[in-house]
Symmetry: C2
Subunit: 261 residues, 2 copies
């Protein structure tokens, strides 16, 4: 699995998931590729050819000026009425609606929508908790795949290495309690691994056909990134992902293909 | 994150995901704990206190004699009619129905059901591809949490160390293409990490409340286990999961709590 040498130890398949500490609080316009390269090197784990770099939606949204004042959003009558009924901030409701192309479920205070990218999640990925008088709201990047390509290209230019980049966000899902990190952007890799037509050691055709490796990378990265913003990036090293120009938007099921619209 | 020492290097949060090669083809009644301990040691990565051991559903089903002849299942008229219409093996359809307590979607050849455990997945987790005349079918373990406890207890008895165990299976999910490994059994850990009431570095209350760490472990393990049965177990090392006596059945949403029945 790891392709980093030929000593006997490399016969053991191993993937390392390494959190990158020391990335400073970023500002709009900051160079995230540079910040990641610097911090990874400073902690003794410099990026290497073939790594996957996972980044949180939050840090990318900050760099891309997608953390904006709540007052940006003038609530519509619909947003005002819903917000009053559910004791929410009407500006926040308006932000969610503007980030959505469709409401999937609206039950009590739960608002699950489809974003303009096609992601299906609570509150269109809008993070509007505001505490201590901070009236800011975090929106998903406009084009997370493009954001990942920018980071990938920046790392290539500065360090001369080819990496893949996965942007993670934390989504709930039907049928199972709890949230997990999933991929909302990718660059430099295919988001899937295809097993169609392969057979197992018994000669059986595999029931499994397509693994969403990008989501597995995102979930693995969460194990070291945590949720407190201190570790907004991680390295996934030793995973033989399929290189290529895939997109996270490929992961989003077309309505016609989805049994659970 | 890692709690394995106090050298400067341990300041870098790192989780290692190590595939365990060399586990022999198992038979019903085999001692899986022993097989895992032996194989992990033989490849130079012996199990250690605090590891999570991930095991595939397939290897546990084999040990627990849940791989059975298809002829075990006498098709009902309903199974016969559906099988004919969709060109499936009627014995396989019967197996899926008997492993299910409810059909969630039945569209063309796709049969998504709720298992007796409460898992919602295609074909009730029954793996019935048969090639080369092998008329066998793999069913999920009867009580995957109990299976995990048995392995955990076996490792404790033989090696004197406390580990957590996660049983993985590969499920599809609504809304997103591709399958990922999820946890269908756990022992020695809580399947969730709770962030309720915590604040981020900006002082904001976290939008994320409950991470399903067991599913993230399962997905991470898939990166080294692959799908060809050769690596039916993996070690996840350095992850500070919450110890305890959790169950994977806690992950399955109660109908009343699920917006997507």
């Amino acid at each position: 699995m790891a392709d980093s040498g030929d000593s006997p130890a490399t016969q053991v398949p191993e993937v390392r998931v390494i959190g990158i500490r020391g990335i400073p609080m970023v500002q709009p316009g900051d160079d995230l590729a540079e910040a990641i390269l610097t911090a990874a090197k400073a902690q003794g784990t410099p990026l290497a050819e073939g790594d996957v770099v996972a980044v949180t939606q939050r840090v990318v949204s900050k760099v891309e000026a997608r953390v904006v004042p709540l007052d940006t959003f003038q609530p519509s009558p619909f947003a005002l009425a819903y917000a009053e009924r559910t004791e929410k901030d009407p500006r926040l409701v308006e932000a969610v609606l503007r980030e959505s192309k469709r409401i999937i479920r609206q039950v009590g205070g739960v608002l699950i929508t489809e974003t303009h990218h096609g992601f299906k999640c609570a509150n269109a990925g809008v993070d509007g908790s505001n505490v201590g008088g901070m009236d800011l709201v975090s929106l998903l990047p406009v084009d997370p795949d493009a954001s990942c390509r920018t980071i990938r290209d920046g790392i290539r230019q500065r360090a001369g290495i080819e990496v893949a980049v996965v942007m993670t966000d934390t989504f709930g899902r039907p049928w199972r309690h709890g949230q997990t990190n999933v991929a909302i952007g990718v660059a430099g890799m295919q988001p899937f691994r295809d097993y169609v037509g392969q057979t197992d050691t018994d000669g059986r055709e595999l029931r499994v056909t397509t693994i969403c490796t990008a989501d597995e990378i995102a979930g693995a990265a969460e194990m070291v990134m945590g949720k407190l913003d201190r570790i907004p990036a991680a390295i996934v090293r030793g995973f033989a992902y399929d290189r290529g120009e895939g997109k996270a938007t490929e992961i989003v099921r077309e309505m016609a293909l989805d049994l659970f619209p």
